[in-house]
């Protein structure tokens, strides 16, 4: 990745034009050709530096459910439980953390009601209690990574 890639990442985490030639519009602002911008995005997606290029949806406004969940998984059981939890399509991401509450994952479901049923299924499959910690109030959301 070079400086141009970094600038692309910084700019396109803010917004992307909704216009008939959006890549051209961005490319002009970056001082490169439309083809080069598309190629660079393609390469960053292929190298898994980007997770996606497209819309970020607001789960609740789409009518979906979203929640952060945690499980207290002992070290020796971590592999098994990880595989079981990740087998659910509703698990959007899953991180280990250095705490007794060692597994933290996000559930994204088609309806809000489905959150509880997925949690029940995960509890039955893993044998562990799932602590459901949905957002109650949002104070700040600004997840951007400057390069």
């Amino acid at each position: 990745m070079d400086k141009i890639d970094h600038t692309i990442i910084n700019r396109l985490q803010q917004s992307f034009p909704i216009a008939d030639r959006p890549y051209l519009q961005e490319a002009e602002a970056l001082g490169i050709s439309e083809g080069e911008l598309i190629q660079r995005l393609q390469a960053m997606l292929e190298h898994k530096q980007l997770s996606r290029f497209g819309p970020m949806y607001h789960a609740e406004r789409l009518g979906g459910g979203l929640s952060l969940c945690a499980i207290r998984v002992p070290k020796e059981d971590f592999e098994r439980v990880t595989a079981q939890v990740n087998s659910f399509a509703e698990v959007a991401h899953n991180y280990a953390r250095n705490h007794e509450f060692s597994m933290w994952f996000v559930l994204a479901t088609e309806t809000p009601e489905r959150i509880d049923s997925v949690i029940e299924e995960i509890e039955q499959l893993t044998g562990y209690r799932v602590y459901n910690m949905p957002k109650e109030k949002e104070f700040f959301v600004g997840l951007r990574f400057e390069l």
Partner: protein, 158 residues
């Protein structure tokens, strides 16, 4: 905003990404039976109403060097959550800040903020600076750094 069946088709069609071609909205339109102009209008209005938070790049932050990611959890008295949450949310290094339910007795923490950094020591310095600058010493907190990432697929709703 009430979403039509067509909106849902459009939302589903682009949830994995925009086409990487010169006229991406025209390409989407061909797949869902809309004109380029109609797609542009629908997406713009979905963004205006907040169904789409933003369009663009979603990075894999680990791959970009952001490997020191702290979730700082605070046990804030209920009547102070708003004030402390607002304060934490204003810190430049804080990327997300939410109130969540306590799960007593095992989990007493009700305020969560994320600090994504490239070095663990810098992140720890940020946290102690915040505690000091805003007089948060009396509020019990814990720092949970992320270890291995086991999944990052992004949410799919449809």
């Amino acid at each position: 905003m009430v979403l039509s069946e067509q909106d849902y088709r459009l939302i589903a069609e682009i949830q994995d990404g925009l086409p990487l071609s010169s006229r991406p909205y025209a390409a989407i339109g061909e797949r869902v039976g809309l004109s380029e102009q109609q797609v542009i209008e629908r997406i713009a209005s979905l963004q205006m109403s907040g169904v789409i938070k933003r369009m663009g790049i979603i990075v894999r932050h680990h791959e970009l060097g952001y490997t020191a990611n702290a979730m700082v959890v605070w046990d804030v008295p209920d009547d102070q959550v708003d004030a402390v949450g607002k304060k934490l949310g204003e810190q430049p290094c804080v990327t997300l800040c939410y109130q969540r339910p306590r799960r007593l007795p095992a989990w007493p923490y009700n305020l969560f903020c994320m600090i994504h950094g490239q070095e663990r020591n810098r992140v720890l310095e940020h946290i102690s600076a915040i505690v000091k600058a805003h007089g948060l010493d009396h509020i019990p907190h814990q720092i949970l750094f992320s270890g291995k990432r086991y999944k990052q697929r992004g949410a799919r709703y449809l």
